[in-house]
Amino acid sequence: MTEIRIIVCAKEIPDPEAPLSDVSVDAEKMEVIVDAPQIISPFDENALEVAVQLKEEVGGKISVLSLGKKVSDTVLRKTLAAGADELILLEDDNFDKLDSHSTAAALAGAIQKIGDYDLILTGRQAGDWDSGQVGLILGEILELPCISLAREITIEDGSVVVKKSIPIGYERVKAKMPALITVSNEVGELRYISRTKMLKMMRGARSIPSWSAEDLGVTEEALQKMGIAALSSPPDMGRDCQLIEGTPDEQAEKLAEVFKALR
């Protein structure tokens, strides 16, 4: 089978799953402040995992694109440790808080610059704004077949066959490559990366290319902000938790009483 070229779009975000006490909202700056290390958006990690599996099966090359005002290559180097061959940062002051369409337009610029590709994979949505648009818009801009919510991807001579989640189960669909696929978490979590491997990649002298809006041929006018009019904290979800204490046996007994009272 011929080797395939895969491009994975991965976004660096503040960890939305950090403990609630580490998350706050700056209404004035209209930013969610997370007092925890930045991460790769979880569904993008799922997308990378399926890319690495495909590369293992049929051979090929994986390029990871990550776009932002400033992208931390220490966070993104994880993608190289996981099996990506190339990481390209798309960084520009004008890339701050872009709307989905502008983000997709900038990514499309980078993908056209790369030129040669069979599959573009993105997570189904990013964990910071939960918008779920960039992947599909990117597919539209590049006029590619678009497949959303993939849970399994296989390659069959020049085509890609995808099991996509639908409300009653799944649909098997087929498209000619190149194609754009948004990936859901059913494909599985990103493989374990050993600490040694991670450190080696972090300390590696390898330089990571960074492309600006100009490099991508994207004009400032084409880059629109997402238009946040207000940002606030969600309603408090907290309840007074009554802790059930004692030996496991005593705890079980008290818990059974709780269930009995709720019958």
Partner: protein
């Protein structure tokens, strides 16, 4: 010209509940704009649903029927919807944040060069400029954002169970047939087969016993299944739920997933076992009447939203609990 257009969805020949909710939202926005709301129905046969919709008071029910619109083939649907928007020219188009809306919304936005906000929980009109204010949870639910964007139609997908379904009123509207110019050549993604799976309907559960990464292994769900059976002797509709991580690890299928990208539920009792409580999970279950958390980490989020907490290894507690439940029943 229609001020607010709703893309309805038809299930088994009838309008689905989300469409009635969208009509409720559309009616409210039309009121704020001092204009009218209309409904668009697409499919191979939507006449029955169109008749059904009139008493809810839309000014028009646009009926776009085409044999190729049987089932949901996104390539055909997005082109049909694009053409319908060009013909109807609405100021605002609302779609459900359903499987269909999630796919059509972004692709349509790109084609019409407008901006979409997804999964909205509130909508209103800015009286200053008449633009749609789109309220949406972001960062998994850590914050609530209001977006305002340029472009027409103003586009939003709307979360279910947020807006009150529209009530019937004076049904003096009319049904208008519109056409789509589509053929098979625009299909880029071919459907090979649709496989129905045995799906749990978590939103119908009275009690959900849910497991997460803290189970440590797939076998943990066997213990939860035993607890589910024991509880079934006292409660109706007891089902197994899970966190996103449990699906990622391949321990359980995604129809069991509770949360932002799984099912949003509000059962009588939610039992969270080994689930630390990522925000995207909490928003999917925090409406449960009673929440019971079992976890070894006293600092985890789940204890902050729970009514009862047990800080202990689930493998110790659950077998003992099953025994005690048997004694009680």
């Amino acid at each position: 010209m229609s001020d607010v257009l709703i893309l309805g969805e038809v299930k088994e020949g009838s309008l689905d509940l989300k469409t009635l909710e969208l009509l409720g939202a559309g009616k409210k926005l039309a009121g704020e704009l001092g204009g009218k709301f209309s409904l668009l129905l697409m499919g191979d046969s939507v006449s029955g649903a169109a008749d059904e919709a009139l008493p809810y008071g839309p000014a028009k029910v646009y009926k776009l029927e085409h044999a190729l619109l049987q089932g949901f083939k996104a390539d055909l649907w997005v082109t049909s919807l694009e053409q319908a928007c060009q013909e109807i020219n609405p100021k605002i188009l609302l779609m459900s944040h359903s499987f269909i809306g999630m796919e059509l919304g972004p692709r349509l936005a790109c084609r019409l060069n407008s901006r979409l906000t997804t999964d909205c929980i509130d909508l209103s009109i800015d009286p200053e400029d008449g633009l749609l204010l789109r309220t949406k949870p972001v960062s998994g639910g850590n914050a609530i954002s209001v977006f305002k964007c340029q472009g027409e139609p103003q586009l939003a997908t709307v979360r279910g169970k947020v807006f009150t379904p529209v009530e019937t009123s004076d049904g003096s509207g009319e049904i208008v047939d519109i056409k789509a110019d589509i053929d098979e050549s625009i299909i880029k993604v071919a459907s090979l087969e649709v496989v129905k799976e045995d799906i749990v309907s978590l939103d119908k559960a009275n009690v959900v016993v849910s497991g997460g990464a803290g189970l440590g292994e797939e076998d943990g769900f066997e213990l939860l299944e035993e607890l589910r059976e024991a509880l079934s002797k006292s409660f109706g509709n007891v089902m197994i739920g899970c966190s996103r991580v449990a699906v990622d690890k391949g321990w359980i299928s995604s129809d069991h997933q509770v949360g932002l990208t799984g099912t949003m539920i509000s059962p009588d009792i939610y039992v969270a076992v080994g689930i630390s409580g990522a925000i995207q999970h909490l928003v999917g279950m925090v409406q449960a009447k009673k929440i019971i958390a079992i976890n070894t980490d006293p600092g985890c989020n789940m204890f902050k939203v729970a009514d009862y907490g047990v800080i202990e290894d689930y493998e110790e507690i659950i077998p003992a609990l099953i025994e005690k439940l048997e004694e009680l029943s």
